[in-house]
């Protein structure tokens, strides 16, 4: 037999399991608290919008690029949203170079679904003339990993969209060096991720807590309704547990939205 995980991670995931059974956490937080959140917008001037989010030691950068393209055939009146995520090898010894991992694709798709379902971007406003619309390319760049990429990724994504400005359009051409108006947003979605370790539920898991987790649940809300959900890992949740998690996610929306709106 051989440990597949990094050996230190293996020992520490056992330790956080033991703590979780006593309703404790390695950093002394209570079960329903986030780590410190810091948002910095507009660091990348070449991007139409950008934001860097620190969630504890997790650091995610989001960049928005707008590209003039033909709308999709089945939706000729609106622009597109394309979300991608990269788990960069500089962010963790466990991340490897190469084609996108299933984890990075899941992250991008879950963030995409919430933004799309909550109709955050006014995609109709992106049409500049018949057959031409702005596509919004939203890229999540993971710079340092210590758990909970879903919530930090969503915070970075929404903050970058808030920061984004639409380039000028004249004589049938995009003028990228000139930005005319803020990207029109109609809604703000936030993401709340819990892990289940034994029968303990913990909000905003650290890397050690994610490695120790049996199951993971992400709830994305706009404060009024649920907009997207994703259950992960091989463990299970009871209906009651899911109800409790949804309640907590609604309770956290204003706090998260304040970080997105600020600055």
């Amino acid at each position: 037999m051989m440990i597949q995980m990094n050996a230190i991670d293996y020992v520490n995931s056992k330790y956080v399991r033991e703590l979780a059974s006593k309703k404790m956490r390695e950093d002394g937080r209570d079960a329903l608290s986030y780590r410190e959140i810091r948002v910095a917008k507009g660091l990348i001037k070449n991007a139409e919008g950008s934001a860097q989010v620190d969630l504890g030691a997790t650091r995610v950068m989001a960049g928005v690029k707008m590209v003039l393209e033909s709308p999709m055939e089945d939706t000729p009146d609106v622009g597109n949203l394309i979300v991608s995520a990269e788990l960069l090898p500089l962010a963790s010894p466990d991340f490897e170079s190469g084609p996108p991992s299933p984890e990075s694709i899941e992250l991008a798709r879950v963030v995409d679904r919430g933004i799309r379902a909550a109709e955050c971007i006014d995609l109709g406003s992106l049409l500049v003339e018949e057959g031409k619309a702005w596509s919004v390319y939203l890229d999540l760049y993971i710079l340092n990993y210590d758990g909970n990429l879903f919530d930090s990724g969503m915070l970075a994504a929404m903050s970058a969209l808030k920061d984004a400005k639409v380039p000028a359009y004249s004589n049938g051409k995009a003028v990228m060096s000139e930005r005319v108006a803020p990207l029109k947003l109609n809604n703000v979605v936030s993401s709340c991720t819990f892990v289940k370790i034994g029968d303990t539920l913990l909000l905003d898991p650290t890397g050690n807590e994610e490695r120790a987790a049996d199951a993971r649940m992400t709830i994305e809300t706009d404060g009024k309704v649920i907009r997207a959900m994703q259950k992960g890992l091989s463990g299970s949740f009871s209906r009651q547990e899911i109800s409790d998690i949804i309640g907590a996610a609604f309770g956290k929306h204003d706090e998260l939205k304040a970080h997105i709106d600020k600055g």
Partner: protein, 249 residues
Amino acid sequence: MASKANKPELIVGGKRLDGRAFDELRPIKIEAGVLKNADGSAYIEQGNNKILAAVYGPKEVFPKHDADPTKAIIRCKYSMAPFSSLEGHGRSGPNRRAIEISKVIREAFENVVLLEEFPNNEIDIFIEILQGDGGTRAAGLTAASVALASAGIPMKDLIYAVSAGKIGEEVVLDFNMIEDNYSDADMPIAIAPRNNEVLLLQMDGSLTKQQFEKAVDLVIGAGKKISAIQKDALREVYAKIERKYENKE
């Protein structure tokens, strides 16, 4: 180099568009130890370039058959974030340009890292261009050098790189993006400052032998300043902590 059809005037009244003299560097800022998980890291701003470099290792080579029993191997990955350019969205994943740049940067570091100290191991260097503004490979190498030192990797020297080239008949240092696009020659060079040996050199365009010599002179002249900024970044990691205590007392 872009098409010369719409070439803008890059030198007006003896000065460059951003007001610099021909032999003047853009402002450079380097911070060491910026990423928690990496064994060493550095962030550089050079003009509007914003670049992260990180180092992991030495660590066991995987897959094992790539290992060299006599010395460590270096792996280097240079890549540009999809949002790093003003024009367009870059596709992710390495393209031919990125693969070539990664290779020449790796070869420069193979010259100075004391590889024999770590047989069967690898040292990984990652360079991420968050915002690109011309001369990213040179600035990335300068940052990676600081990242390697901050990881405690033994090296013969703290190397740096910067580009020089030609606008019209003028030999000019450290192109920004627009100069890079329309210059008449571009030549990134990496130097080991201890003995001024050349560790990386690429060039395209047109240069006379005299212009080449002039360009190398500009690089080595600017190198003193770049080296000093690199050293200061490494010392600042420790000085910052000392100040924290001084302020308290």
